[in-house]
Symmetry: C2
Subunit: 220 residues, 2 copies
Amino acid sequence: MTLSEEDYIKAIYHLSQIDNKSVATNAIAEQMKTKPSSVTDMVKKLSEKSLVNYKKYQGVSLSEKGRLVALSIIRKHRLWEVFLVDKLNFSWDEVHEVAEQLEHIKSDALIDKLDAHLGFPKVDPHGDPIPTKDGTFKKSIKKLISELPVLSEGVCVGVNDSSASFLKFLDKNKIALGDTFKILDREEFDGSVSISTRSGTIRISEQIASNLYLEISDTE
Amino acid sequence: MTLSEEDYIKAIYHLSQIDNKSVATNAIAEQMKTKPSSVTDMVKKLSEKSLVNYKKYQGVSLSEKGRLVALSIIRKHRLWEVFLVDKLNFSWDEVHEVAEQLEHIKSDALIDKLDAHLGFPKVDPHGDPIPTKDGTFKKSIKKLISELPVLSEGVCVGVNDSSASFLKFLDKNKIALGDTFKILDREEFDGSVSISTRSGTIRISEQIASNLYLEISDTE
DNA sequence: AAATAAATTTAGGCAAACCTAAAAAATTGT
DNA sequence: ACAATTTTTTAGGTTTGCCTAAATTTATTT
Ligand SMILES: [Mn+2]
Ligand SMILES: [Mn+2]
Ligand SMILES: [Mn+2]
Ligand SMILES: [Mn+2]
């Protein structure tokens, strides 16, 4: 598989996670920063290789084979992110671009040994689960703060938007994965939310709330 | 720079180290496992970019700019080799292929942090020196065993041939970098050499002797 | 149910990196 | 010196991944 094919497979995987429908050509083009006509070319090729199911004008979805390829690339991407943060002291907002390259290195032995070296991590620096070698992985039961009712309590386990600017914002406001939050109150007017943390109570905008995942520890 | 351009630059660098003449098209083709006509294409492109000096039919040599590019790729290659052996427990005969890929990852921060993580190593697992960031590096005064006179003594610091089969041979015969050897005797007939090691005296063929470097500690 | 708009595909091209076959230049042998 | 051989370059193609412009299909309005 070429680097480009791998990135397309990964893009299709991520887009199909959003809702469970087949993925539109334009959506892939936007994600991959190419033109729709280029996407059509590539989708045809992936279809020939049985990595995707494709019917003209009907959008595209990953085949089982394609899904396993996607998970293996995501596994590599996330393991490298752990390496960059844990071993090389990168901050979590700096790792994406480099991991985007490292995920394409071809060597099964490499990724197994890297996994061992890192102590078989279960999640990456952004709280996203790392698929196992055989392509299984547990989606945690996590919810966006914006989708949780008032008085919910839970551990912050992930981000929706992992852009450097958002991650830097979190650092500046002392919000980190692993912190326990309680939703105290939600403002009708603008959807902003008041949450209590170890270090006090803060108010976050709807935009922030819709980009932070909590793993809810039963509120009872 | 593309991956392919980088590999060409590296090949030209290595070939020009052998003797100090300009490098022949056919030699590059052999090294790169392509056809001479492809080499001509690429050399023209590198020449446009002022990375090599090239005149038709006259062979090619690296410009100063090209030399620095070569050294930066070699630096990355060798640092990754150290990482693979020291941190991921690869054996020294397994690392070349993966390092061949890793050397092309683009990120200055990555290579600086990797260097620090490894403790700023001076040589790679095959005893080859690691160029510094600014492209200087010390060629050690090392000589092939086949070129040294009888009774020379020194530390084994490098290999000429780093193919997996040769490295495996060394492991099997308990020859490792850092070992101290003394050349006891050389057979006129076949060039084979008798050397004393910590673990006793062994006889090595001319072919082996011409692939092992010693750093000679003055014999006086 | 048209008409309009949006999404998607097709057609035709381009650059990178390779190829084969043929031509040209350099080297070697006599 | 000049014929034969070797090396190198040129000419013309291929594949991959991208592009623009035009055609086609599907979706949305009116
Ligand atoms: Mn990628
Ligand atoms: Mn991540
Ligand atoms: Mn390489
Ligand atoms: Mn090496």
